[in-house]
């Protein structure tokens, strides 16, 4: 198994804005816990960046995972916690180019 880069574009879906602040915070806490579990399992988060000015998504988040399976597990935990129902998204995965610095 090889290390992978995982690139995640997201923006809130329209009905996200109709949720009250406490409900939003509860969702965000659940997703943060899923991210913590992925970090504990060997993933590393390179960061989350604002891109709304240049893209139809709002943020891009970049992770390194020890394997494609680990990336899938991370995403599966998020979707099980309604992440995809409250955020539109586009994901991508890639293997490091052999010999790249």
């Amino acid at each position: 198994m090889s290390e992978c880069i995982w690139i995640h574009y997201a923006r809130p879906r329209p009905h996200w804005y109709g949720l009250d602040a406490a409900t939003q915070a509860a969702h965000e806490k659940t997703w943060a816990m899923a991210a913590e579990a992925s970090l504990a399992a060997g993933g590393s988060r390179l960061g989350r960046y604002h891109i709304r000015g240049q893209q139809d998504f709002e943020t891009v988040e970049i992770w390194r995972f020890p394997s494609a399976e680990a990336a899938f597990e991370h995403w599966s935990a998020l979707t099980a916690a309604a992440y995809g129902e409250l955020n539109a998204f586009a994901n991508n995965i890639g293997l490091a180019i052999e010999g790249s610095p």
């Binding site: 992978c4 995982w6 494609a68």
Partner: protein, 242 residues
Amino acid sequence: MTLLTEATDIFAAEKRSGRCLVAFAAKRQPLGSGLFGSDQVRRLKTLLQALRAEGWLMSVRAMFEPNASAEPYVFDTGFAHEMDMVGAFEAPSLSAALAGTVRLEQAGWARRFATEWLLGPREFSTVQGRGALTDHSWGFLALWEWNDAWSAATKAERRAYDEECDVAFKGDVALGINIAGRHRLDWASPWHHAGLWEASSLGSVDLAMQGHEAAADFKFTTSRHYVGRLRPLADFIEPDPD
């Protein structure tokens, strides 16, 4: 793995096997003379045989009959689409699938084709079409994402929608269409799912689509469909004449 949507009358949840779809929509690229020759063809054919030996399935047919044919088959879509062919393999794992796309690209595939690779685990088992049709000369690839309306719908609304769509899927099966289950793409794609069908004719796919429109299938999805004629992959990787 949690399913994005629940099993239905037609679709049974697949026991998690770890295996991974490697679907592709590919467009042949115009190349200068000698840039895709017998060397690339030989390397690609050797690699395709190696993948098969590593436990890959090399066609949609093989998803129904794993021992059917070792030869890779795809669907010729150029007559109706920007893409010249679509097809699907199945790899033993997600890691093998991802590495396999790179191996294929490096063996010469990247010269021949501009490709959208679509990878993901199987969610639902295959569904055999009704009747004894042995003609599987047409294929269909559906890609879709759940839209904002689906995302905002209640569980009961989604369940009612699934039941309505199941009526359409029963119609597909009655037309003799074989449905290769459903695969999940959303972890590594803008698309959420892939559906692959075998059909006896373009007409039966068209009739099936009318059934899905009648069932309001598309109110909750944004979809892209490819239809194509069964053809050996080898036909698409012949060397260019010098």
